[in-house]
Symmetry: C2
């Protein structure tokens, strides 16, 4: 492991680490006595998509490690077409970091990867936060062709991060204002940008969503095997992965607390970053074997 730094999310340099499978791009922010927090990103998101309003406060008590999975950003390799494949890369990365226990923040696609990591190697996941995500066999996961998403995604006037403001936030003026502040924060990073995800990344990740959406005979039963204390979070108006999927997670995971934010969509953690980071810090600081905090 490299020396602990006190970089901010906006300034942390991108580092590279050789795993057994690929070389992974990552950034480290903050330090502290608590377990490191590994952050797993959303569909087509890279290291540049982490909001300092979420990751910097959490980095005041621990190292926050942002991670590009294989084929994303400057990580080598190709994007797996299953969530389980992505989880293998995350575990490979943690092994290369010599981490045997960490907390995990999985947002959207990253929350699915976190579930697979916890199932595949329970010992390495201490506490888990699953934000704007779904269990295997969930419903209406990332159907970008539905009108509420197809319209902003196909709008040529929305360039770069502007599309995120539309699709991660609710259509109310308050949520859109939070979205505007979010993309302004993302734009603060002035250099050392990640390679933006192209159609190949999107296509492989979309294939993984479709595979994840297929229910299996053991769908909910699988959740029952994930016993780590878990905090499930969503915005009540999430169009990308509707809140019903968070209800299912809360009902199926034996040790999960559910927190749902009003007036917000997929990016509830960015909209209510003060609340989210306060709740997340309290959740992660708990030494109870149970989720409630």
């Amino acid at each position: 492991m490299s020396i602990t730094t006190t970089n901010t999310t906006t300034t942390a340099p991108t580092e590279l680490l050789r795993g057994t499978r690929e070389t992974y791009a990552y950034r480290r922010v903050g330090s502290g006595i608590r377990r490191p927090l590994i952050c797993l990103q959303h569909f087509t998101g890279t290291l540049d998509n982490w909001d300092r309003a979420v990751t910097d406060p959490l980095a005041s008590e621990r190292e926050v490690i942002l991670f590009d999975s294989a084929g994303v950003g400057r990580s080598t390799g190709t994007v797996p077409t299953t969530v389980a494949g992505m989880a293998m890369h995350a575990l490979d990365f943690l092994d290369a970091l010599c981490l045997t226990s960490c907390d995990v923040l999985g947002f959207s696609l990253g929350g699915m990867v976190a579930q697979e990591m916890a199932a595949a190697r329970p010992s390495i996941v201490h506490r888990m936060m699953l934000v704007g995500t779904a269990p295997r066999g969930g419903e209406d996961i990332m159907h970008l062709d539905k009108p509420s998403l197809a319209a902003p995604l196909g709008d040529p006037s929305l360039k770069g991060y502007a599309v995120l403001q539309k699709i991660f936030f609710a259509p109310t003026s308050s949520s859109q204002a939070a979205g505007a502040a979010f993309i302004e924060r993302l734009a603060e990073r002035a250099a050392d940008h990640d390679r933006a995800s192209g159609p190949d990344v999107a296509a492989a990740q979309m294939t993984a969503f479709r595979e994840w959406e297929r229910a299996t005979a053991t769908g909910v039963a699988d959740l029952g095997r994930i016993t780590q204390p878990t905090l499930v979070v969503n915005g009540v108006h999430d169009e990308m992965i509707p809140v019903r999927n968070s209800y299912r997670l809360s009902e199926g995971l034996p040790n999960a607390m559910l927190l749902v934010y009003p007036d917000s969509g997929h990016g509830s953690l960015f909209q209510f970053h003060d609340s989210f980071t306060r709740q997340a810090a309290a959740f992660l600081a708990s030494d109870s074997p149970f989720a409630p905090f």
Copy 2:
């Protein structure tokens, strides 16, 4: 108003206050600079059913006021057969206390009364906590004849508070142990007990549940008019008022945060009293016009 006291939930004397409609029995616990918190009780519950593990910690920063509605405990009058009728008594009581603004904790039936109060007189309800409850038109509300509830309710070996342990808590050993601790705490009150609710109270309140369960054309729209910051709380395995009703509240109220506890039933606030009171205190201490805290 009487002089502020520092009684505990276990020792607070029962007081009587004449309103314009009835004379109401109540107890006051604690003191502090924050707004008083009015606590509205569940089906057939009296002042004796408040758990000190919930109300005492909240009373460290404010006066907590436990309230018997008309026809319950030592309050005079008859139990209304509508939730709206109960809300009129609660408002009458607050007027008699000369309170023009308070926070409200409504548990189960009490959470329905709180919604009616907020709709009838928005100015008096500052922040609201709705625990184990349902919106108008909710589903499967207090159907005591269904097998999961009829069995413990009809079991002659379960006397007094023991039935609460069965029906307010999940069947897991951890939840039942929390239930056993809960009824032990209730039993600590040694004197000045309320009159237990009889079949007349139960029948009138059950009529009110059936009326509340009937959807109206404006059901969800009505929730949209309740703009107070609200914290909705439930146990994921609530058999009495299933968690789906809390989902509906969170989806319909424009300014509500939802918190769902694992491994717990109707009495999630009693089971996870440390977490609930921490969350509730943070929610009530917020000076934001928005629910997230």
